[in-house]
């Protein structure tokens, strides 16, 4: 079967298809292609595309396993969302937390990448442990930090008490809890960004730095005017990727605060899980999922616009 690929050169295929008659080889290429990609597309169709379409459909029903209802209710779920304190809070915190942690992560990620790119003994060690926050389970990181920040026996509050003479009770304070979620997210994701930035930095030709050094540029100037502009596309790409992934993230908040105190740190993904899997309110949960989908789509459109611009300027 594979011989078709060697014998049918691209030009032959093109000429034939322009005439509207697929050649025998071209046909066989299509068959072969279809065979090879079918498992991947089948998986995606059944467990991603179909469920998403179903979710959108459920969002217009009052489908609930416990109540036993399943009727078309129009936009009722969306009206309910605007009156639901928990979901509204989750929506605003999701946006705040994703934006804040992404901005901080870009900064911290660049700093870590600078360090990992420097020449010093222990660099390999640093590069290796840098992968640990990314690789360990998010749920474990959530619980570890919750214990690390425990108001009575956690390391950080105890140190704070020793230094400042005051108690630090994080998880009953909405503002402190929100900062805790954002900063633990930074701990988890900034090193991953650093890995990508480092790879970008290693691609910058060394003679650019040499030339700048000869001209007397300081290390900050070299970073600001050589490194940063050259890895800017990478920084934007990473920021958008992380925003999309963090929007749907659920494990960290589940472990660290479970959305508390009250609903101060609740996120949309957590609300979907609660309403859908814990309370079996499929219709309502699906409407929250659709809000999440719209957010992701919005970021996607922003991404497309940004990439268009980037294409023009390079």
């Amino acid at each position: 079967m594979a011989d078709v690929m060697a014998r049918s050169s691209a030009s032959v295929v093109k000429r034939r298809s322009r005439l509207g008659i697929p050649s025998r080889f071209a046909m066989r290429r299509y068959v072969l292609f279809t065979l090879l990609v079918t498992p991947a597309f089948l998986l995606r169709l059944v467990t991603a595309a179909y469920p998403i379409i179903q979710t959108i459909r459920y969002s217009f029903t009052n489908f609930s396993l416990l109540k036993g209802t399943n009727e078309y209710v129009g936009l009722q779920n969306y009206v309910d969302i605007t009156q639901n304190y928990g979901v509204k809070g989750a929506l605003s915190f999701t946006i705040l937390y994703v934006l804040a942690s992404t901005v901080i992560e870009l900064g911290v990620g660049l700093l870590i990448a600078q360090l990992l790119n420097a020449n010093f003994r222990g660099r390999t060690f640093a590069r290796t442990i840098n992968l640990i926050p990314w690789a360990i389970p998010t749920i474990v990181a959530g619980y570890s930090f919750r214990w690390l920040l425990d108001d009575q026996f956690g390391l950080i509050p105890v140190w704070y008490q020793d230094l400042m003479g005051k108690n630090l009770i994080i998880f009953i304070d909405p503002i402190l809890s929100r900062w805790a979620v954002i900063l633990v997210h930074v701990w988890k994701d900034a090193p991953f960004m650093a890995v990508v930035f480092l790879a970008g930095m290693q691609g910058v030709p060394l003679d650019l730095y040499e030339a700048a050094k000869v001209d007397g540029a300081s290390s900050w100037q070299r970073f600001r005017h050589i490194t940063l502009p050259l890895i800017k596309p990478l920084v934007i790409t990473m920021a958008l990727f992380r925003i999309v992934w963090s929007l749907a993230g659920f494990d960290l908040v589940f472990g660290l605060t479970a959305g508390g105190p009250g609903v101060a740190t609740s996120v949309l993904a957590l609300q979907v899980f609660r309403e859908g899997i814990l309370f079996f309110k499929f219709g309502f949960a699906s409407a929250i999922s659709v809000i999440l989908l719209l957010l992701v789509a919005f970021v996607g459109i922003v991404a497309l616009v940004l990439f268009r611009r980037a294409d023009v300027s390079y």
Binding site: A6, L36, P39, A40, I52, L115, V158
Partner: protein, 288 residues
């Protein structure tokens, strides 16, 4: 003549200053990364009472009592076995499916094949949590609820797009002449895939295998949503269950941290032996 030594002197001070900045940042970085790891390890290996004392005991006497308690009180071995089977199963299925698709995308091009690849890769952005309700019903209809097979199927689907994306760029780097020669010698497609492409692509497959294994091992959402009994619950579910319990001391932190360490150790071990391979995979898709 006089100027030269003084300039050299100034230079060496500057040089040292740079070194100092680097090493101070290095130390801060190590504390930043390792503090939570130390805290988890210390708490998992300590006696309960040692964790609830102030001033804090930084290096309590080491005991494996917490792990013994876990073995006695929860089906810990079942959970561990399920985690391993789930992670390995997902890794293998994802690699097989992705390798076939990546080969097609890398070697057979026609108008529209690029768009298909983009559709597949962009489907990565679909939020998984938005699919759990319909998936829950789908799995229950297919009799795959509360089974490792069901979990493997849904997670492999999530991991496939990124794996295909990275593998396509790996395969494209392989010169086509090698396959061409085999084709002229009359080799069939399975022979080409298994005998020629597989050995050359092994580094890429190992890298993506590691990344997928880590992802599956860490996955919480699917087992938490679709597992009902210990027959399919994984360690990530077990840690949430242990957290839900209470002990006379409050939350059973020594046990939670013991499950945490059990989940961390294999992952950290993998990283220590394969840092380079993993970085290559993480950056392979993004840079190019």
């Amino acid at each position: 003549m006089l100027k030269t030594p003084s300039r050299k002197y100034r230079r060496s001070i500057l040089f040292d200053l740079n070194k100092i900045v680097v090493y101070v940042s290095f130390i801060i970085f190590c504390i930043f990364v390792l503090l939570p790891i130390y805290w988890t390890l210390r708490s998992s290996l300590a006696n309960v009472s040692d964790l609830h004392k102030t001033p804090l005991i930084y290096f309590p006497e080491v005991t494996f009592q917490n792990f013994q308690t876990l073995l006695d009180q929860v089906p810990f071995l079942d959970y561990t076995r399920n985690s391993i089977v789930f992670a390995l199963g997902t890794t293998v299925l994802t690699l097989v499916v992705s390798f076939l698709a990546a080969y097609a995308f890398a070697r057979i091009q026609f108008p529209g094949s690029g768009v298909l690849l983009w559709i597949l890769v962009l489907s990565m952005a679909l939020p998984e949590v938005g699919t759990i309700v319909p998936l829950y019903r789908l799995l229950s209809k297919a009799n795959l609820l509360d089974s490792i097979r069901g979990l493997v199927l849904v997670l492999s689907s999530v991991l496939t797009p990124f794996t295909v994306w990275v593998l396509v760029s790996f395969i494209k780097q392989i010169p086509y002449e090698i396959e061409e020669a085999a084709i002229i010698d009359g080799a069939s497609l399975p022979t080409i895939l298994v005998r020629i492409l597989l050995p050359i692509t092994t580094p890429g497959l190992v890298t993506m295998g590691l990344i997928n294994f880590i992802n599956a091992w860490n996955n919480l959402l699917y087992p938490l949503s679709f597992s009902v009994t210990p027959s399919s619950k994984t360690l990530s579910v077990s840690i949430t269950e242990v957290f839900a319990g209470y002990s006379p001391w409050g939350k059973p932190w020594e046990l939670i941290m013991a499950v945490g360490i059990t989940m961390m150790v294999p992952i950290i071990a993998l990283i220590l032996v394969s840092q380079r391979a993993i970085v290559r995979g993480l950056t392979g898709g993004a840079i190019k």
